[in-house]
């Protein structure tokens, strides 16, 4: 395997959790819910996936556990913000803090254990294609899922009636309610989906990226996912572009540091953030399109007047 292939493989591995978490959050935000707890849901997914894998011996059980943990955590967020109408920003921040704390506690006995890696699945024929094959078609299940999820979200949001309703709820919950759309139910489902995706992203961290459990191993990726959603102007494929760009620049700067290029490492470390923001600002320069894609009732609580 050449150096280029190796680098590209690590880019994919680095980008997948960002794409997953951001895609899930995109759906929640399209329904008008701002869940700042992505980091917390992600780390819960990571610890539960690792623990379930250790206990069962199967990383696939681990993946399911990660998804369930993220979804369960988002359900708590949904209950607080949608049913009890708590402030979304404060609740989201609390969820992140809670997730970091609880995951540290749950994971204590798993610290330093040898992890079980989710093995790649080679797709017949396609994986034989030179260069592209090993890169894209000899990957783990979570990578395939991440692409399928983004494609699915795009299709769901813009081609189905339920997706139209979800966008309508995010644009104007009052009008959607007046038309008979169940705003709270729609938002619950969107938040749950977002949580499941964040949990899956966490599972990828502890089963693929670095198959072990380390405290705070999400390392701010949840926050980057949140930023990606905004800079991608709530459009699914842009989230992929942003995620891969971020992954690419962070991996290249690591290699650059390893080669000992005479640029301060702090500057190199900041490059992924700068590059991603600059590029996404450039592609979202069309303000009309941005406004049309921005969920107008994002973060606003909905209380039906009955």
């Amino acid at each position: 395997m050449g150096i280029v292939e190796a680098i590209l493989l690590s880019v994919i591995t680095a980008a997948t959790p960002l794409v997953l978490a951001a895609a899930g959050e995109l759906v929640a935000e399209r329904s008008g819910v701002l869940n700042l707890g992505v980091e917390g849901m992600m780390i819960m997914g990571a610890v539960c996936a690792f623990a379930a894998t250790q206990l069962s011996g199967s990383p696939y059980i681990g993946v399911l556990a990660g998804i369930a943990a993220g979804a369960l955590f988002s359900l708590l967020f949904g209950f607080l913000t949608l049913t009890l109408v708590a402030n979304q920003v404060a609740t989201g921040l609390a969820l992140t803090l809670l997730g970091l704390g609880v995951s540290g506690m749950l994971g204590e006995s798993f610290l330093g254990m040898q992890g079980i890696k989710l093995q790649p699945i080679a797709i017949p024929l396609l994986s034989q294609v030179p260069f592209v094959g090993p890169l894209l078609f000899r990957q783990d299940a979570i990578f395939y899922l991440s692409i399928a999820i983004v494609a699915g979200i795009h299709w769901f949001l813009f081609r189905t009636r339920s997706g139209l309703k979800l966008r309508a709820v995010g644009d104007s919950h009052g009008s959607a309610h007046a038309l008979g759309v169940d705003v709270i139910r729609t938002r619950y489902l969107a938040v749950l989906f977002g949580g499941a995706c964040a949990g899956l992203a966490g599972a990828q961290l502890s089963l693929v990226y670095t198959p072990q459990w380390v405290e705070n191993m999400s390392a701010g990726r949840g926050w980057i996912a949140l930023a990606l959603v905004v800079f991608a102007s709530w459009r699914p494929w842009r989230v992929v572009a942003g995620g891969y760009l971020f992954g690419a620049v962070s991996i290249s700067q690591l290699h650059a540091q390893a080669f000992g290029i005479g640029i301060p490492s702090q500057f190199l470390s900041s490059l992924p953030y700068v590059a991603t923001i600059v590029v996404l600002i450039l592609i979202s320069h069309n303000r009309r399109m941005t406004l049309i894609n921005t969920p107008a009732s994002l973060g606003k609580p909905f209380v039906p007047d009955r």
């Binding site: 966008r167 104007s172 038309l179 406004l291």
Partner: protein
Amino acid sequence: MPVKGPIASGPLLAVSNLTKLFGSFAACNAINLHIEPGEIHALLGENGAGKSTLVKMLFGVLAPTAGEILWMGDNVRIGSPGDARKLGIGMVFQHFSLFEALTVAENIALSMDRSISLARVAEEASRLSHVYGLPLDPNAHVADLSVGERQRIEIVRALLQNPQLIILDEPTSVLTPQEADRLFETLLKLKAEGRSVLYISHRLEEVQRICDRATVLRHGKVTGACDPRAETPASLARMMVGNDVAVVTSEGTNTKGDVQLEARHLSVAARTPFAVSLKDVCLKVKAGEVLAIAGVAGNGQSELFDALSGEYPVADDNAVQIRQKPVGTRNINARRLMGAGFVPEERHGHAAVSSLSLSDNLVLARNQSDKRAFLGGGFLKIIRQGAVKAATKRISEAMDVRKSGEDPPAGSLSGGNLQKFIVGRELDRQPAVLIVNQPTWGVDAGAASRIRQALVDLAKAGSAVLVISQDLDEIFEVATEIAVICEGRLSDPYPARELSREKIGLLMGGMHGKTEGAGAAHAH
């Protein structure tokens, strides 16, 4: 399109003792009402009379506290808008329930109970819009459409359900007279097909023109049911308001003085994609004059207000002149210091902070212009509570502001009373120039006449007054000169008594720039 199902011999809809309580407040109190098949029935009443609450219950948006709804003789419970649509009730909301970020076809598809492909929806919508004379482009984004076009979406959306009763909540409040005429044609067509229309309005003239019967509400109760054509506007108004409303008098010729407010070739680019750019606006207001600017909402009124008040200063200092001094680049406080006063459009969050007391709101607006009166010396500028409280009291008395307690939060006042306070806050300074945007929007008739009289009196006392309004009745009551704004262009001013409603309507519909299909045919 034929009306489905047999038409029962009794009323289509009957409501008996329908009541809605919000806490202990009865928004609707034992309402009785019946609508016959094939009639246009008016629901009349002032703002806050309970009209919107009543129709929200009929459409399943609000649940009634007590009472019965009979649909074709059957007692029904309408738990959701979906239930209402299944029965055959369609609704066109006052504040449109449209999604700006979605296309016309997507908006329509959302209200369909069955899942139909967008292409089919677009096709059916085009067909209906053609039949009823409501031109629409199914693929346009709502954000890019005019208010009149948005209303057409709502109507087509309601018609797609093939309803037997269509409820329209204040449909003409956002239309030009010509657009309203076309709406009336559509309504008469619906009536001819045997459908019924419940038409909510406080415009007596329209009600007399197209409605067969009227039910009048006041303070949540039915105060009368009548044939509007057999009544006079005055007798209808009495039923609506209770006691006769004071008539605004502008008798006595105003002596005109020097130009106090002027815009010279004022052009401003649109700040946001949904804003309107101002194009070469010229206007002059002399002392003693009331210049009213008419126009359909969203044609540059708020942009003009922003530029004249200095909320958003403009690049060219000479483009705005207050008391013959250039102020274009100066901010709102600098303009206040030169003797100007401003009343912006939105009461809550713009003209006043709802959660703060009236006196705090007074200081917020006038802390620069009345520094000496309200602020103490020193670095911290301590607020002189006594002087502020006294001024609050003075303003409340002068404008007859009804409030609970001495100095309640602005948000606790009714719309009319808060608006009286906000206008009074500026009048209290006797400004040489006053600029008011939508002075009586959503205000009850009593407060509206009080505010209009105050504007007229201010001009008589020698100030220059600029009123931006969508309400033609208001404009004719207060104005000495009238100009019309359309798509960011301002027409020449006309003396108020030489201008007819028809002429204003033509100007509002846009004698400049784009006009659309049948509207253009009417207009030219």
